[in-house]
């Protein structure tokens, strides 16, 4: 019972983040891009004329609260899209490898090994160097570097399930491969795949922050949490709010995602109880 109350709280928090991200334009008190060069680095709670900066201002005088709200949009959007892309690509390749086996599987799994051998961050830096930074390219990079993780799990799971009697029966009854993969195997591996997806989601949020730290993520003046923190890093002592608030949000969101992932894993794999 205690366990259920805990997860309810986490899910509520998660929903709150998503809601804040969706409703950012309505909730943000100011334009997140509006600069006031004379109001740089004001502490939280500052009141200037009629304008109240609840979380303070950044190094160009922009309201931090508004930027954090819009930043939620970007973090969630990047992570969701990246996970979606790598999930689709990863599962597809994993299903194919697990079903057809033989040379196809060897080829795909060796490709997986190759991709996993490149340190993800180096591949990201290299790809951004060629494609240029920006939201779309960031998602492409993240999607391209993470799919192998899904493929591995999907492959292993597909191998196990493909041997089950009722799958064999369906095959003998003349069901098409696509139908079998889509209607029978996919639903059965959905559980473990969701577990991978949630842990990847948290990682994608952190990854985007890391790439922004290196200047390769979301471009200014767009306010991703990682970009705000990277820019605020040189003011860590003088303007602690620039790293603490987005950092706290980042941390809380990732914690919620990870806890959700754990809960999913418990549901899917009773062994871990």
């Amino acid at each position: 019972m205690k366990h259920n109350r805990g997860i309810t709280l986490v899910l509520i928090l998660l929903a709150a983040f998503i809601l804040a991200a969706l409703a950012a334009p309505a909730l943000a008190p100011f334009d997140p891009l509006r600069q006031s060069l004379l109001l740089r680095l004001k502490p939280p709670g500052s009141l200037v004329g009629t304008r109240q900066f609840l979380l303070g201002t950044d190094d160009l005088g922009r309201d931090l609260l508004s930027r954090v709200l819009y930043g939620a949009r970007i973090s969630l959007l990047v992570a969701t899209t990246a996970v979606a892309v790598s999930l689709v690509v990863g599962i597809t390749l994993g299903l194919i490898a697990g079903w057809f086996r033989g040379w196809t599987a060897t080829l795909i799994m060796r490709l997986v090994d190759t991709m996993l051998s490149i340190p993800a961050i180096l591949l990201a830096i290299l790809t951004v160097a060629v494609l240029g930074p920006g939201f779309l390219n960031l998602v492409i990079v993240l999607g391209l570097t993470r799919w192998p993780r899904y493929t591995r799990v999907a492959y292993g799971q597909t191998l196990q399930i493909a041997n089950l009697p009722y799958i064999r029966a369906a095959e003998m009854a003349g069901a098409s491969t696509t139908r079998i993969l889509w209607r029978h195997i996919l639903p059965n591996i959905a559980g473990p795949m969701m577990v991978v997806a949630t842990s990847e989601f948290g990682l994608m949020i952190l990854f985007e922050a890391g790439l922004s730290f290196l200047g390769l993520g979301i471009q200014p003046p767009n306010p991703s949490w990682g970009a705000i923190m990277a820019a605020g890093r040189q003011y860590v002592e003088r303007a602690w709010w620039l790293t603490v608030f987005p950092g706290a949000c980042l941390f809380t969101l990732v914690v919620c995602v990870n806890l959700t992932g754990d809960w999913l894993r418990d549901k899917v794999d009773p062994r871990s109880r």
């Binding site: 060069l37 160009l60 003088r238």
Partner: protein, 496 residues
């Protein structure tokens, strides 16, 4: 097997050695990057020459006022417009005890100017077509055409030992350099630090410091932490915000100097909405220079009205920049039919992003939509130096030719045919060509005056401010940094 044993040994030594013991005889400097090469002739970057300038002497040098004064050469005279004779000191010894002779000077020049040597510095010295020993202590240089910036370039020529380099070869020379400067190379841990020790036989006198250590610390915040905990005595490259924060640190001193580096905005005159001169003039009137200097640079900058600093020869004082007048700018943009036009701004992380974003806001206020694209430095250079279509409509620049002469600034930036220039104006070309073809300073100033008048009217670039180099050091370190950002430890000493 020997190699891995060596690596293990290096690792254990590296990890067990105590932290650098600091005494009054030693100086520890934190630099953003490690030396790329010790050989002074095969690279062109600040972190390298901050170190090797202390190992080598240069043919000429600049004093603290910026005037060119003798170093290895004691005197010089022009025998005609393209021939110059230098008298060489006879009392200089290299670190291996051998004498510095005119042959070494000629060798140093010839090595860089030989294309097969692949020196990136070739462009700075390729006006020199011949160099020969013309007497027991004399060297003669010949230039292609009269070249007024020659002496400024020779300030950067490090003299290397011919016999030693020819004996050990280029690769070994790079590892174990020998110069004639105030410090010798003791050890170079690539990527980590460089250790120098005093050259007690130095011809100008023994240096104050017995040892100098240059540490490579890429992260700015970490460099500040090093200074605050006393791990380092000196660092350079502080941002204005860092300077303001460090000013209140009792155990540290902030020192700044106006440099020859000019902060400017490039405006593409050949492509895009900025092709129209009215749009360019409007942009010039949209920029609030004073707010940029006060708010972003925290006062660590001096405004300039042209794309040049007073530290450069050729600076004119009677040409004023377009005034800050957003209303007039808006009207001008309307009349040019450019309201709402998209102005792509290309930049890289090397340049201060806050300046870019502030400019974006200012342009937005006069009706132009500026979009910022950030790419990494190699890609940025490739595009900026490419076709007008790829280089964006605007860009930020922080230009220094390390020559303190207008020829090194507005010639490459705006003369047609140069990779950086997205501007063509025959009169301007004629003026800067003439200014570099004569040694007469009055004539040169007249040409530059005309050139800057054209730049003012045509606005292919907007001068913002003269950059200041900000250093952080222990309060009792006495040193006057110079406008050309030279880093001579010989000139530093502890007070009292």
């Amino acid at each position: 097997m020997r190699r891995s044993a060596g690596l293990i040994l290096a690792l254990s030594i590296a990890l067990s050695a105590p932290a650098h013991a600091q005494t009054k005889d030693s100086l520890v400097v934190d630099l953003p990057g490690d030396v790329a090469t010790m050989d002074p002739q095969i690279q062109w970057d600040t972190d390298s020459y901050s170190v090797y300038r202390n190992i080598f002497d240069n043919l000429l040098t600049r004093d603290t006022a910026g005037k060119i004064v003798p170093q290895v050469a004691t005197a010089w005279r022009y025998t005609n417009d393209t021939t110059i004779v230098f008298d060489i000191r006879s009392d200089i010894l290299f670190h291996d005890g051998s004498k510095l002779t005119p042959e070494d000077v000629v060798f140093s020049v010839k090595r860089i100017t030989t294309p097969e040597f692949k020196s990136p510095q070739l462009s700075q010295f390729d006006q020199i077509i011949a160099a020969e020993v013309s007497g027991p202590s004399q060297v003669t240089l010949h230039t292609k055409t009269p070249y007024p910036a020659l002496l400024a370039q020779l300030v950067k020529l490090s003299i290397i030992p011919k016999a030693y380099v020819e004996k050990v070869g280029d690769t070994a020379f790079n590892q174990q350099v020998i110069g004639s400067g105030p410090f010798k190379l003791k050890s170079w841990q690539r990527g980590v630090q460089t250790n120098l020790e005093a050259n007690d036989a130095y011809w100008r006198g023994k240096p104050t410091f017995k040892t100098v250590t240059f540490r490579a610390v890429p992260d700015g915040a970490t460099r500040l932490a090093d200074l605050r905990t006393g791990r380092a005595d000196l660092t350079r490259g502080l941002t204005p915000d860092d300077a303001v924060a460090m000013k209140s640190e009792r155990g540290l001193k902030v020192q700044s100097v106006a440099t020859e580096r000019v902060a400017y905005l490039f405006v593409n005159a050949l492509f895009g909405p900025t092709k129209d001169v009215r749009v360019r003039q409007a942009i010039a009137m949209a920029i609030d220079r004073d707010t940029l200097i006060n708010a972003l640079q925290q006062g660590y900058a001096k405004p300039v009205d042209i794309v040049l600093t007073p530290a450069n020869f050729g600076y004119v004082t009677d040409i004023k920049a377009w005034p800050f007048d957003p209303a007039r700018a808006r009207a001008l943009i309307k009349s040019a039919g450019a309201e709402g036009a998209t102005v792509p701004f290309l930049t890289s992380p090397v340049y201060d992003r806050r300046l870019n974003e502030a400019v974006q806001q200012m342009l937005d206020d006069v009706g132009l939509k500026m979009t910022i694209t950030v790419v990494d430095q190699p890609t940025y250079l490739k595009r900026r130096l490419g076709q007008p279509e790829e280089s964006g409509s605007m860009s930020q620049g922080r230009w220094s030719c390390a020559c303190q002469d207008a020829d090194g600034v507005i010639f490459p930036l705006f003369r047609s045919g140069s990779a950086w220039s997205k501007f063509t104006n025959a009169t301007f070309d004629a003026e800067v060509d003439a200014a570099r073809a004569t040694l007469d300073e009055t004539k040169r100033m007249a040409h530059y005056h005309k050139a800057f008048e054209i730049l003012h009217d045509e606005v292919p670039g907007i001068g913002l401010f003269q950059d200041e180099a900000i250093y952080l050091m222990k309060p009792n370190l006495q040193w006057q940094p110079t406008a050309n950002e030279a880093f001579f430890v010989y000139d530093m000493k502890w007070a009292n």
